[in-house]
């Protein structure tokens, strides 16, 4: 007795599997409660050869410093990082960023808490490049209390902590919209189509047309003309959002340029090595049946 010997061709199985997977992957896009797909910020650091645009990082730092830093900390950043290679104020004349006069001056603008080394008393002093970015709140409880119960998240690695990265940050900051009629907005909340969430419980309209996005506690943070640029870049919400998103992409991944450059060298090396090894393989196996 034998089981049917007719074999299903591999191609047939693979083709049906591919179709099945295709159908499955199409499904989530139709589900409700999904945020809008982020718009592209057209960033210079995209792709395998992309690098940060230093001018954009400087503008982004300005937006962060003058607007975001009022509520958001960046606990993983030090002022010295601003003068790191590929950073906003990198200057090849100062390989040690602690010597960089621009970085020193930027740090000096800020007062940080410290302990007097003689008396042990709490004091305020000018920051140095070695200091961490000053946190707007002394602790998380104070941050939450000052913002209606929701502490503004630390922005140091924000571009890696959200799907969509810099595009998401850019889209969110420049994407605030008036809430569609039929959406019940809770107190202290704002509608944003790029925010993750599910608006179904707050939607009184057609249940098949739940608006994309979610509620965000942060009110629209940027206004046209709010930050003065001295390089002639447009002083618009769109430009501010792009620049600060680029800055956060850099703080999230400050070694990205080194990484991509090293990667190019490694891959060239490996491809040459693979070629040589393949030739060696063909020579050794020449005339050996296998």
């Amino acid at each position: 007795m034998t089981i049917g010997m007719k074999t299903v061709s591999i191609k047939t199985i693979l083709a049906s599997a591919a179709i099945a997977l295709g159908l499955m992957s199409a499904a989530p896009a139709l589900a409700s409660g999904v945020a809008a797909t982020p718009r592209s910020g057209g960033f210079s650091f995209e792709g395998p050869f992309g690098t940060y645009d230093q001018g954009q990082l400087q503008r982004g730092y300005k937006v962060y410093h003058e607007v975001c830093a009022a509520c958001h900390s960046m606990n993983l950043m030090h002022y010295r990082n601003l003068g790191d290679r590929h950073g906003p104020f990198w200057n090849p004349k100062y390989p040690n960023p602690n010597d960089n006069p621009v970085v020193k001056a930027l740090a000096k603008e800020v007062q940080v808490g410290d302990i007097d080394s003689e008396t042990g008393e709490a004091i305020q002093r000018d920051a140095t490049p070695a200091d961490k970015f000053r946190s707007p709140y002394p602790n998380a409880t104070a941050a939450a209390a000052g913002n209606g119960g929701a502490a503004p998240p630390d922005l140091s690695v924000m571009a890696k902590a959200r799907e969509g990265g810099a595009d998401y940050i850019y889209s969110l900051l420049s994407g605030y919209k008036a809430a569609p009629a039929g959406l019940q907005i809770r107190d202290g909340q704002h509608y944003n189509p790029y925010m993750a969430g599910d608006l179904t419980p707050f939607w009184t309209g057609d249940h098949k047309r739940v608006p994309p996005g979610g509620f965000i506690a942060m009110p629209p943070p940027l206004q046209n003309g709010q930050v003065t640029y001295d390089d002639g870049s447009p002083q618009t919400v769109d430009q501010y959002a792009k620049d600060v998103a680029a800055f956060i992409a850099w703080t999230s991944e400050p070694k990205m340029v080194e990484r991509k450059q090293a990667g190019l060298g490694v891959l060239i090396y490996l491809f040459i090595f693979a070629g040589i090894t393949y030739v060696a393989y063909r020579r050794i196996w020449k005339g050996v049946a296998h």
């Binding site: 010997m5 990484r259 990667g263």
Partner: protein, 434 residues
């Protein structure tokens, strides 16, 4: 093969002195001249690739441990400090994090090769079983390691997985507290996970030594799957070096190219964005998902409505692999000569991918479109829940029913008497005969 004669002749005085006291050079030389079936294809290169993966993980891991701080307040920042302030730290960490994924890609291919070519059958059961132990230890090590950066997914992954132990009747609760070092996931948990994450790779290394020992005792399988008779050894075998060092070497370099593309250009593609949010026990992520390599088992876990039942199913999915040599009733090793079994194997592959896909979806979400069909027991028929259940059923049926039954009832294709036969006539020619 274990009795393959040593051809090493110590030349220098030092070598002769050492050879009578600790014949370690002889050991290495014998290893390099080990007769190896000449027909091994590229699916046989993953052993070498896996050795490389293990060493890479151990070396990068030791360096990372020099800079990492296992404390709930400092762990996240210490990992980011490695990325920023440690020289080359970004490279070491990305190699380690992506190395885990590469390790699993290689181990899955290695296991599927064993499954397809029947490498688990007599006399190689011990090689396979030790391999299963290694795979289990790898899963444990990877899980422990993922907790260390103390991001949201680290914390909540640890929460979900340790909670599973709590589902064991009676003993669950005490074991859970013992495992976590307290009633909740906290600093004690992080510290012991760090300790164990450092320990287990060396347990894996020990098992790898046993795996190789068993391999050299029983001899390597080959794509034809027949045992090579003693008198054919000269004709059918080649010394390991240089023939297979160069072949493995070429495969390793190709593998490194894939590895490098991830490390240098897509270092976070295989991870989850939520793990760059510091752990917060008060905020549950929208969806808790393990790393991709655990998704098929996570899917099996969620397919069972009862929590303890799910745990049993998940562990059984790995446990069934241990008894594979006795579930397969066929005397024929290679599926090249088992067309019926090969079809079921290909379905198994698709099912495996399907389970992985399901593991990353919300169970209630619809599979096709967004429409509802009808509720079957506890979920809509058009949901990942039911797709997962169907796939889980096939996973177990494949091992527990198809394997024993097909082995008894199928009619395999004629098997060549020697591995040279298909080599000289072309393997495909043999396959087509059926």
């Amino acid at each position: 093969m274990s009795d393959h004669e040593s051809t090493y002749v110590p030349k220098t005085g030092v070598e002769k002195w050492l050879d009578t006291r600790l014949p370690i050079i002889r050991f290495g030389a014998d290893y390099m001249s080990l007769p190896t079936p000449r027909n091994l294809n590229y699916w046989w290169t993953f052993g070498g690739i896996l050795a490389l993966c293990l060493m890479t993980q151990i070396v990068t891991g030791i360096v990372l441990a020099m800079h990492y701080t296992p404390s709930v307040d400092l762990a996240f920042a210490s990992v980011e400090r490695i990325m920023r302030d440690v020289n080359g730290g970004w490279l070491i960490r990305y190699v380690h994090a992506n190395g885990a994924s590469m390790f699993f890609i290689a181990v899955y291919l290695h296991m599927l090769r064993g499954l397809y070519y029947g490498s688990y059958k007599a006399p190689r059961e011990m090689i396979w079983i030790i391999g299963c132990v290694i795979f289990f230890l790898m899963i444990a090590t990877a899980f422990l390691g993922y907790v260390l950066p103390w991001g949201q997914m680290s914390f909540w992954g640890a929460e979900v997985i340790t909670n599973l132990i709590g589902a064991i009747p009676v003993l669950g609760e005490p074991i859970l507290i013992w495992l976590r070092g307290g009633p909740a996931i906290d600093n004690a948990t992080l510290n012991r996970f760090f300790s164990l994450h450092y320990l287990l790779p060396f347990a894996i290394l020990g098992c790898v030594v046993l795996h190789l020992w068993a391999l050299h005792a029983a001899g390597q399988n080959n794509p034809v799957g027949i045992l090579i008779p003693k008198d054919r050894e000269k004709k059918d075998m080649l010394p390991f070096h240089p023939y297979f060092t160069v072949k493995d070497g070429f495969a390793i370099i190709l593998f490194l190219i894939l590895f490098a593309i991830f490390v240098f250009y897509q270092p976070n593609a295989l991870g989850h964005a939520d793990n760059y949010i510091p752990a917060n026990p008060l905020v549950t992520p929208a969806q808790i998902v393990p790393e991709w390599y655990m998704l098929p088992f996570y899917a099996i876990l969620r397919a069972i409505p009862d929590k303890f039942g799910g745990v049993v199913a998940m562990f059984s999915a790995i446990g069934v692999l241990f008894v594979l040599p006795w579930l397969d009733t066929s005397k024929v090793r290679s599926m090249r000569y088992r067309p019926t079994m090969r079809t079921f194997f290909i379905i198994f592959l698709v099912v495996g991918f399907g389970l992985g896909w399901c593991g990353g979806q919300l169970p209630d979400a619809p599979v096709l479109g967004s429409f509802k069909t009808f509720t079957l027991v506890d979920g809509d028929l058009n949901s990942y829940l039911w797709l997962t259940r169907v796939l889980t059923a096939y996973y177990f049926i494949f091992f527990l029913i198809i394997m024993p039954l097909v082995g008894l009832k199928e009619q395999p294709l004629p098997i060549p008497a020697t591995i040279s036969e298909p080599v000289l006539t072309g393997a495909d020619a043999v396959e087509q005969k059926g």
